[in-house]
């Protein structure tokens, strides 16, 4: 790191960090045992929450200079916020991390692959739903055309980090471009109407995981919801916010607020923990913008995860059944630590007939997916995943249920890496619940139908 760059970063830290929040940390160390990187580095204080906060404060105070090691510590953080939940002092670590990354990345040169990733995805792909569709359309073409087989056999994928190579194998089959663009904007309930909700589709969810989104809408219908799906919504901005692209994130937040204000609903439903946790913090993101602050607060109050609304509407008391099996649940960090939703998914799973729910040890510890973490911090991510898979296997589960697309891919990746695909599967909770509901109520599987149609 050269001197000019050091100066730039240090100045950015002084400008961007919330010093009061830094002071809030009493350095009691209570957060250390909950931090996956502290554990996986064999208790390295540099890679602990307390250490990271101290580094940030050290930079602001001028006690240390920016360095590659400091940057590495901030980079290696998963942003899982497990430390936040256990902190008795209430330190908002997630926010400190965002500020720190903003300070580093607004003034730092990244490595080439990372830059390409950030550059392309952040500015050009995620913000625009149709480009996202275009990109995943390409992925679908790649999968269907046989190019995937070709690429695998000539080993092009070896050029990418290990996690990405394996990831390539577990990516779901992408629906055809035409199907993706054809979503109704207003859907009526299939039971007695109890609530009017809007559905936040999410950029990644509505492309690669479109089937899960369809399942979410179906579940909401069965649960008695009238659903609005505003067309003008866009990506939540989480990936930008978590990676030092705050200005971009704000822009996207405003667009979403406008889109959902028009819908006039009781709740705004999400089915991706990562998006949800970012959406509920729009008020914080826009706190310095007097014009938007209140509107953001109103928006935030309405955000609810699909599992939370299902439990509120007593969906778990309906008939639900699956073939006999053991099921375990991997918490989504952001759903648990950001939205404080962790009982509901378990409650729902436990109420399915023939399902034996077995809690896995450290279920709430991050799986190592963490946005694009498994690509840019491949080694640490795989180390964390290995631990996770050991715990998952201990439960003897056939199905690992998750509540976030990133976690879902990571779990699929874990299963693939361990060579367990013949005995274990990973699914999104929404897909699992829909199947359980339709199974119990003798309804022809809407998912299989849709899948068949999409692939034609």
């Amino acid at each position: 790191m050269n001197t000019a760059e050091k100066q730039r970063i240090q100045a950015a830290f002084k400008e961007k960090m919330d010093y009061d929040e830094l002071m809030n940390c009493t350095r009691c160390g209570f957060c250390l045992p909950s931090c996956p990187t502290y554990i996986e580095t064999g208790r390295d204080e540099v890679h602990s929450p307390r250490g990271r906060i101290a580094l940030m404060k050290g930079l602001v105070d001028g006690v240390i200079e920016p360095s590659d090691e400091v940057k590495k510590s901030i980079d290696m953080c998963l942003g899982c916020r497990a430390c936040e939940t256990v902190c008795p002092s209430g330190v908002k670590f997630g926010r400190l991390l965002e500020q720190a990354r903003d300070a580093i990345y607004q003034s730092n040169k990244q490595s080439l692959p990372e830059k390409m990733l950030r550059g392309t995805f952040f500015n050009h792909v995620f913000p625009f739903q149709n480009r996202m569709i275009g990109l995943t359309g390409l992925l679908g073409f790649y999968q269907r055309s046989g190019a995937q087989k070709l690429a695998r056999s000539i080993g092009v994928m070896k050029l990418f980090p290990e996690s990405m190579q394996a990831m390539e194998k577990v990516l779901p089959q992408v629906p055809k471009k035409k199907t993706m663009k054809n979503r109704p904007q207003h859907v009526q309930p299939l039971a007695k109407k109890k609530k009017k909700v809007a559905f936040f589709t999410g950029c990644l969810m509505d492309t690669i995981f479109m089937q899960t989104n369809d399942a979410t809408i179906k579940l909401l219908q069965y649960a008695g919801c009238e659903i609005v799906i505003p067309k003008t919504q866009n990506c939540c901005g989480a990936l930008h916010g978590h990676s030092g692209e705050v200005a971009k994130a704000k822009e996207m937040a405003k667009k979403n607020i406008v889109a959902f204000e028009e819908a006039q609903v009781d709740y705004i439903i999400t089915n991706a923990g990562g998006c949800g946790a970012f959406l509920v913090e729009y008020d914080h993101l826009l706190r310095d913008d007097p014009e938007w602050k209140e509107r953001a607060e109103a928006f935030c109050r309405k955000i609810k995860d699909i599992t939370a609304v299902l439990v509120e509407l007593n969906f778990h008391k309906q008939a639900l059944s699956m073939p006999d099996q053991i099921v375990t649940y991997q918490d989504s960090c952001h759903l648990k630590n950001g939205q404080k939703t962790f009982m509901e998914p378990r409650q729902l799973l436990e109420s399915i007939d023939n399902v034996t729910y077995v809690e896995m040890k450290d279920a709430s510890r991050c799986c190592g997916s963490a946005g694009i973490y498994n690509i840019v911090q491949s080694e640490m991510s795989m180390q964390i995943l290995d631990y996770k898979m050991v715990q998952a296997q201990q439960t003897k589960a056939k199905t690992i249920v998750t509540a976030n697309p990133g976690c879902l891919l990571q779990m699929k990746l874990g299963i693939e890496r361990e060579g367990l695909s013949d005995q274990m599967q990973a699914v999104h909770i929404v897909d699992f619940l829909l199947e359980a509901y339709e199974n119990a109520n003798g309804i022809v599987s809407s998912q299989k139908e849709a899948a068949a149609a999409g692939m034609k």
């Binding site: 809030n24 009493t26 510590s73 008795p88």
Partner: protein, 470 residues
């Protein structure tokens, strides 16, 4: 900065991957849980076994380099801030439980084992390791032994000291000695085990410990007594003890503390009460039942307006966990929390509580009080802001007065957190000049070059150097 050849020698001993001296590592080992103290070490070294520890200590002794043994850095006396630079030793590799001896009821551990793991491992086989400092899920046994840590069960079960049967220590000259053993009785020579317990890393490096385990109590009962004023709660503490009941836990929390703890834990604590006692009794069912009845009666006689009994084990555990978070939770109110642990004979608790309130008023500072009331160990905690130098000066005066009062009541300046750098200026109040001189002589005899955690506990003239106050 570490000289090149020294670094190379250290790398030879422990392997290159176990010596860190980049600026991030130095900063990460520059602090502990004590507010306002920070100083940079020259390197962090992680030995893998006692032989490596001995080699490091020898090298440092030859070159007069300070060694700061560090557990998890949760001490509250600036015990691990490297005030004179030097090497921070961590025990991340020396973290194994070596043996559980069910015949002699002992557990042999390396210094880096987390306290909670010792407790859990014992519990799994129906045994009990009682010392439970509030920080137990992160503190390490090496740190506990060196601070002689107490906890929520000190009243009935004693403190860490009462569970250390033997130690293996690397002395400052690099020799390895073993003290005590799996013995209920042992009078062969000076009791070095007790000397090292609570020595704050100033006399040597602990590399192994034999701990005493006891049978698990059969049952327990946990309750909360609520009061309209502090005095009544304090009087109850004295009344319970005077009635010959020794509860396992007898904790005191004032209203401000209860409020912040509830804010964090959200378990429905009674925030309307001015003071709360958290009481737990354990043992044989009939004894617990009888004691609980008596305790409830005594609480009511001493004007508790309500006594609530935990209905399930989970509820009981929630209450204990909530109490453990008290100190950190207090920092929700103000940026800086400065906490002390003046301790008095338990009969003097009402007087001490009153004195603390008066002193806080006199200096116009905010002091919340909670603590292990049953063993006379209070934690008056001052809520302040390190950036406000005027207020900090007042806080220091207030604490000095609190220490004097505690000693005047037959108490001490610190019951369990240790002296470190923070209470070094007050040690004479308790130990007296002659007492300090005796301690200095012990220190000089074992560590003539003053390399072990210099600047802590005792001021040894030539080595003295204040930490960088922030």
């Amino acid at each position: 900065m570490l000289a090149k050849e020294l670094k190379a020698k250290l790398q030879d001993i422990v392997g290159a991957e176990n010596v860190e001296d980049d600026n991030a590592s130095l900063l990460a080992y520059s602090y502990d849980a004590t507010a306002r103290f920070q100083a940079m070490p020259d390197a962090m070294v992680a030995p893998r076994n006692k032989t490596e520890v001995a080699a490091i200590v020898k090298l440092c002794n030859d070159h007069r380099i300070p060694i700061i043994a560090r557990g998890s850095g949760t001490n509250l006396c600036a015990g691990t801030t490297p005030a004179s630079g030097g090497i921070v030793l961590t025990f991340k590799h020396m973290n194994r439980i070596l043996e559980i001896d069910e015949e002699n009821l002992t557990m042999t551990v390396e210094p880096g084992v987390f306290t909670k793991d010792i407790f859990d491992t014992a519990q799994e086989i129906g045994l009990f390791y009682p010392p439970d400092p509030g920080s137990m899920h992160i503190s390490q046994i090496g740190g506990n032994i060196s601070e002689n840590s107490g906890g929520l069960r000190g009243l009935k079960y004693g403190v860490t000291r009462d569970y250390v049967l033997g130690l293996e220590v690397v002395l400052p000259n690099g020799e390895i000695i073993r003290t005590g053993g799996k013995l209920a009785k042992d009078v062969a020579g000076y009791d070095l085990t007790r000397l090292f317990v609570g020595s704050e890393g100033t006399l040597g490096v602990i590399t192994e410990a034999i701990l005493k385990l006891i049978p698990q109590p059969e049952t327990k009962k946990t309750m909360l007594a609520l009061y309209h004023n502090l005095d009544a709660a304090a009087e109850t503490v004295s009344a319970i003890i005077a009635n010959r009941i020794i509860p396992a836990t007898l904790e005191f929390l004032d209203q401000a503390t209860v409020k912040v703890v509830e804010d964090f834990a959200k378990i429905g604590l009674p925030t309307e009460a001015k003071a709360v006692l958290l009481i737990e009794q354990d043992g044989a069912p009939e004894v617990v039942e009888r004691d609980a009845e008596k305790i409830v009666k005594l609480c009511k006689e001493n004007h508790a307006f309500d006594v609530q009994i935990a209905k399930t084990d989970e509820q009981a555990e929630q209450l204990m966990t909530a109490r453990r978070s008290a100190l950190s939770a207090l920092s929700r109110l103000k940026p800086t929390t400065i906490l002390e642990d003046a301790t008095v004979p338990r009969s003097q608790i009402p007087k001490m509580v009153k004195a603390i309130t008066e002193i806080a008023e006199k200096y116009q500072v905010t002091i919340c009080t909670f603590g292990h009331a049953g063993d006379g160990n209070l934690h008056p905690t001052c809520l302040t802001d390190a950036r406000n130098t005027e207020e900090i000066a007042l806080v220091e005066k207030a604490f000095a007065e609190i220490f004097e009062k505690a000693v005047a009541l037959g108490g001490t300046i610190t019951g369990e957190h240790g002296v470190g750098m923070m209470k070094l200026p007050y040690l004479h109040l308790k130990a007296g000049e002659a007492g300090i001189a005796a301690m200095q002589n012990i220190k000089k005899a074992l560590d003539p070059n003053g390399i072990m955690n210099p600047g802590k506990m005792l001021a040894i003239a030539e080595k003295e150097k204040a930490g960088d106050l922030q």
